[in-house]
Amino acid sequence: MRATAASLIIKIAVLAVVAALAVWAALPLITAEAWWGLALEAAIVAVLFYVYLQRRAIQLKYLIPGTLLLIAFQILPVILTVGTSFSNYGDGHRVDKEQATEAIIAAGVQQTPDGATYLVAVGESSSGELTLLLTDTADGSTWAGTEEGLSELNDAAVDPSGRVTAAPGYTVWDLAELNERQAELTDLAVPTGPDTGIKLQGLSAFEGESTRSYDEECDCITDFATGTVWYADNENGRFVAEDGEAALVGWRVNIGAENYLDVLTDPDIRGPFLGVFTWNVMFAAGSVLFTFAIGLGTAMALNKPSMRGTKIYRTIMILPYAMPSFAMLLVWAQMFNRDFGLINELFNLNVNWYGGTWSARAMVLIANTWLGWPYMFLISLGALQALPSDSLEAAKIDGATGVTAFRTITLPLLLIALTPLLISSFAFNFNNFNAIELLSGGNPFMAGDAVGGTDLLITYAFRQAFGASSADYGFASAISVFIFLIVATISAFMFRFTRNQEDVYS
């Protein structure tokens, strides 16, 4: 095989772009001294160059871009999810032990006469970490402080008094948000040295010396002013005082299968979890059943070539499928509004659809059926038209007509063809986050419950991680892994049905 001049030029150009990108990507890693990241990047670039310069394994040239993308954004997240599910990562357990110790010491800071004072704005970093955006009242320099420590803040916009109003990479809270979330700020302190730190006081902050210190001998923190001693609980990643109260900042540790065991043993979690799981299965199965029933029924009705108007019917029936599903879910949510919604108006009802568990569930199923049946109609019609006509004719000769023929011949044949699609539709609906989030948002919530009546496992996990209350990434990941396992079982099942049809073994 002879490389033409043109292809050679293209190859060189592409590799040059790769090299340029590599250099661009390396710079921030070098500044941050992230050597592991740099090594990884170098390895990837080396692999790319090797693959495109060698001539033996040509298939690699076609496989490598997809493989890299798949590893980065599908496989790595899955592995990380599994890893996180065995930890207590979440609010209160974000940092490592050293940083947690420093943060607790910094929280005990008392103002010293010559310590620096700061004007404070509060921001959230792109990863959701609370950050104090500080302006030094002495020289006007700006700093970003977290429970990990203090770093210089460049390119921040400040108001006339010097307070930070905007900074790249941070979402700065406005006054309303400050009022609302004040509770999260108590005990937020920025360590600046072994026993110094910056502590918040209203909308300003001061640097001072801490009355607390860490003692390696007893693995504990002592507050000399109050006499409190916190002992490290290395298993759970927190410092606990003698009266059993834990310090607010803990650290991230591996807690083994505890997140999973909680689901099985903790009665507060087990009860709701079982409820969610049961409803999750019902929702997925119900969605498939209803959409398939309507879709197949319609397909049977329209599967008559001599019938007039089938084409028009078919075209209009695709409409619900072609509409953007997220928007139509929102429309359905409004249609079920108690006071002004269309459904109550049309049927002259006064049902508070979101109020009761079963009415909310019925609502979700109705809307989801509306979204899904055109798909079932299309695939049923396709399968009906592909049915072998000789078996139907044979049945007719044997005297089977109408219902009997449908039940004994048509339906079994259809199911053979459609089972893989029905199973993948089940798997899709099992994780149908949009349907629940956009329709009911998990409502109704009974007083004090973290779980709503229409919550699926995926919406439940999502709320554990990103909801209004404190984040528990570890537990949310454990639920994700649980869903993985269910879906994997379904996939294995599905694969048994598809293996005959696909060209895997050739």
Binding site: R2, T4, S7, P28, Y62, L63, P65, G66, L69, L70, A72, F73, Q74, I75, L76, P77, V78, L80, T84, S126, P168, I294, T298, M307, L319, P320, A322, P324, S325, F326, A327, L330, V331, M335, D339, F340, L346, P374, L378, I379, L421, F433, N434, E437, L438, I458, A461, A465, F466, A476, S480, I483, F484, V487, A488, I490, M494, F495, D503, V504
Partner: protein, 306 residues
């Protein structure tokens, strides 16, 4: 109607007419079919008619909207583009800026992989195909916590691709669409006769020339379908977009339109929301209608719209 059919109807028709009146025959044969179709159509069209009615409703509130239009006003559409609190144009643009490149790039990368799976025989081929089949059953958003953490740390090194950036979200979508489209396209590539490749090779074409010059143009229909499915799936995604894009002007359509129906939004935003929905659906409906034929065959090949 062929000749034999015509003859048969002529013979059968009088017999049937003797026994039953013509209408009864028609009703038994076709009438119920029309009834079923119309009943289903009513169910299917009610929400769509409702959206149209709401979009043209001059008041714009939910309470003043009924199934059939009560008034005709373009006020909601006007507000969609003039209300500073509703940057609809920007949202639309954001959605396209994310979904179009993500679809294009992921389809291109999938087609490369599909070509390798279809035309080359190598050791890990079967396990890799099976693995792809499995991984496509795990939607990207299941690992949403991990993705959030990954992009949080990517953002520390490369602010352009971290959280709250379009590029970051695009990367996730690109990875998510790979499995399905690779399988779909491999199935299609398998139906293109290998003899064509062999003939081209004899004529001196390299593997790259065969792929770009022959396979890709021949596979245009399936590429279009995979692209459309990836595009629509991305447009409809809510979970990742709501997590990644939190600044109002940066939002996608799904996240932005949701804020219009939130409980703390003014009641009159419902009309604006409906108008926005209508404008969005013009795009997706046009795409679906023009590719109706291919979509049916693509669906039976195993794709689920996201």
């Amino acid at each position: 109607m062929t000749v034999t059919e015509a003859v048969r109807t002529k013979q059968e028709a009088p017999v049937a007419r003797k026994r039953k009146p013509r209408f009864v025959t028609w009703a038994g044969e076709y009438g119920w079919r029309h009834l079923v179709a119309i009943a289903v159509l009513v169910f299917g069209l009610v929400p769509i008619v409702y959206v149209i009615s709401a979009a043209f409703n001059p008041n714009g509130t939910l309470s003043s909207t009924s199934l059939l239009p009560t008034g005709l006003s373009l006020g909601n559409f006007e507000k969609l583009f003039t209300d500073p609190n509703v940057p609809f144009g920007q949202w639309f643009l954001n959605s396209l800026m994310i979904a179009v490149p993500a679809a294009f790039i992921s389809i291109f990368i999938s087609s490369l992989a599909a070509y390798a799976f279809s035309r080359f025989r190598f050791k890990a081929r079967r396990p890799m195909l099976l693995f792809l089949l499995l991984i496509q059953m795990f939607p990207a958003f299941l690992a949403v916590v991990a993705l959030y953490l990954i992009f949080g740390s990517i953002g520390e090194f490369y602010p352009a691709a971290g959280l709250n950036t379009k590029l970051g979200l695009m990367l996730v979508y690109m990875g998510g669409a790979l499995g399905v489209s690779t399988w779909l396209m491999k199935g299609f590539f398998d139906t293109i006769p290998k003899e064509l490749d062999e003939a081209a090779t004899i004529d001196g074409a390299s593997h790259a020339q065969i792929f770009f010059g022959m396979i890709l143009p021949l596979a245009a229909p399936i590429i279009a379908i995979s692209g459309i499915l990836a595009f629509v799936g991305t447009m409809n995604d809510f979970i990742l977009a709501s997590l990644f894009l939190t600044d109002r002007p940066e939002m996608t359509l799904a996240v932005g339109l949701k804020t219009l129906t939130a409980e703390n939004s003014p009641a009159s935003y419902f009309g604006i929301f409906a108008a926005g929905t209508l404008l969005t659906s013009i795009l997706t409906v046009a795409v679906f209608m023009s590719l109706q034929r291919y979509i049916v065959s693509g669906l039976t090949g195993g794709a689920v719209k996201g």
